[in-house]
Symmetry: C2
Subunit: 236 residues, 2 copies
DNA sequence: AAAAAACTGTGATCCGTGTCATAGTTTGAA
DNA sequence: TTCAAACTATGACACGGATCACAGTTTTTT
């Protein structure tokens, strides 16, 4: 596996995480001592809905999905967390159970800090609280947008907007457009935008037929006409 | 109108708001000085998507809806804020524009505190930051549930769950069940759960036909069989 | 109190997406 | 390299909710 070797040997992860940016070099060294590392394989569960974790978890390397299992047997993906993101915030302030499950999408290395250590840290450095608030607000905005998009039950718009979101987060320059490494399978995309696997397939196919995107295998995709997606995701 | 008379004469609103609960009597007196009150009529806009308000707004008396206007002309309601709730948090930490519009559902009195005053307060009383974090987490959880519910596009479940939510927040005891004063019109409910006015009407009618609820005019509703709603909102 | 405006309920029809079925493709293991 | 398991694409069909239309009701205005 050999993920996060750096991280284990030096306390590097502290530097990679925005919420710890208010710390001085010396302080972050001390914080690094408090952190426990753990590696997970693709598919491993990191936490389960309802569980009481009482740790803040930071993604050091890799990618995980956070989701809820719905009553009708579906799986609603809420977040995709990558390097630098954190989760488990719910269990820190109050003693609340996790409101979603988290599962590794690829081999992943996580940093964990205990509830008590973190609370002490928060008292000593209120600016960390600010950082967390900022991130919570960002996350709220993401979910607000998700609600907006799911409320307007237009399938095309949902697929377009998820592609734009992935392009923003995981896209890289390419002579003919933006190359996106998809973090999710077709089923995963469906679980993210509230459609079925089949519908996502069809929408992607027709986008390709229209020359808007180009499917490269199942895990990559080239966005050729970004404007068309932007139009499709909003007005038509 | 005559809303919030108390509030204007004494600084009472400070006491009614959870986020200021860490303040001592004397401190809250001082904070009350910083607060500006303002009254709005039903239908008035308090803030508009994209606007830079740079104030934290607290609902003293009344009720407002927070929503986004979607590209396809719909209106997606994100939150309903009542007495004690706050909004405008986005503009406080960073200088971000509001991610939603806010409009008064009834005549409403609001308390506002400026960005700089609030930040000073936050520095002096880190516990206020904690309270805000808690509330942001609560709000996140609400939205996560909304996403889950909108993702599973079953109309019956959406209506059932919104009724349960309203019962929780606005319901009162009644010999035959729970009496709910609906904060939204049929169209409003539709905008909240991502359906059309007509579908909401139909679902409510059939719930009434099944003896689960009883419609009392357009603004009230009696939940007779809460269990049926709970079953309908999850598994079937 | 009367009139206007806004809101609600319900039928008829249409369309999009879910569901089911099946074949093709990719991925990973032996 | 071969084989199996998992994933993907696509057609056929059904069904639920959107849309359109209109009548009835409630609320607001003057």
């Amino acid at each position: 596996m050999a993920v996060c070797v750096n991280c284990r040997h030096h306390g590097l992860c502290v530097h990679r995480v925005a919420i710890f940016s208010p710390l001085s070099a010396e302080e972050s060294h001390r914080v690094a001592e408090l952190i426990v590392h753990k590696e997970y394989h693709k598919g491993d569960f990191i936490m389960t809905e309802g569980e009481q974790l009482s740790r803040l978890v930071i993604v050091q390397e890799g990618q995980v999905k956070a989701f809820r299992s719905t009553a009708d047997g579906r799986e609603q993906i809420l977040y995709i967390f990558s390097s630098g993101d954190f989760f488990g915030e719910k269990n820190l302030l109050r003693n609340q159970p996790a409101s979603y499950s988290v599962q590794a999408l690829v081999d992943t290395c996580l940093c964990m800090i205990s509830r008590s250590d973190f609370q002490q840290l928060l008292r000593a450095h209120p600016e960390i609280g600010m950082k967390i608030m900022e991130e919570l607000c960002r996350r709220l905005e993401r979910l607000e947008t998700a609600v907006e998009s799911l409320g307007a039950r237009d399938g095309d718009a949902r697929v377009s907007s998820v592609l734009l979101e992935f392009a923003e987060r995981y896209g890289e320059e390419h002579p003919r457009g933006v190359l996106v490494r998809l973090p999710l399978s077709r089923q995963g995309i469906a679980d993210y935008v509230g459609l079925t696997r089949e519908t996502v397939s069809r929408k992607l196919s027709s986008l390709q037929a229209e020359g808007v995107v180009e499917l490269i295998g199942n895990k990559k995709l080239l966005i050729i006409d970004k404007t068309a997606l932007e139009m499709g995701s909003s007005q038509d």
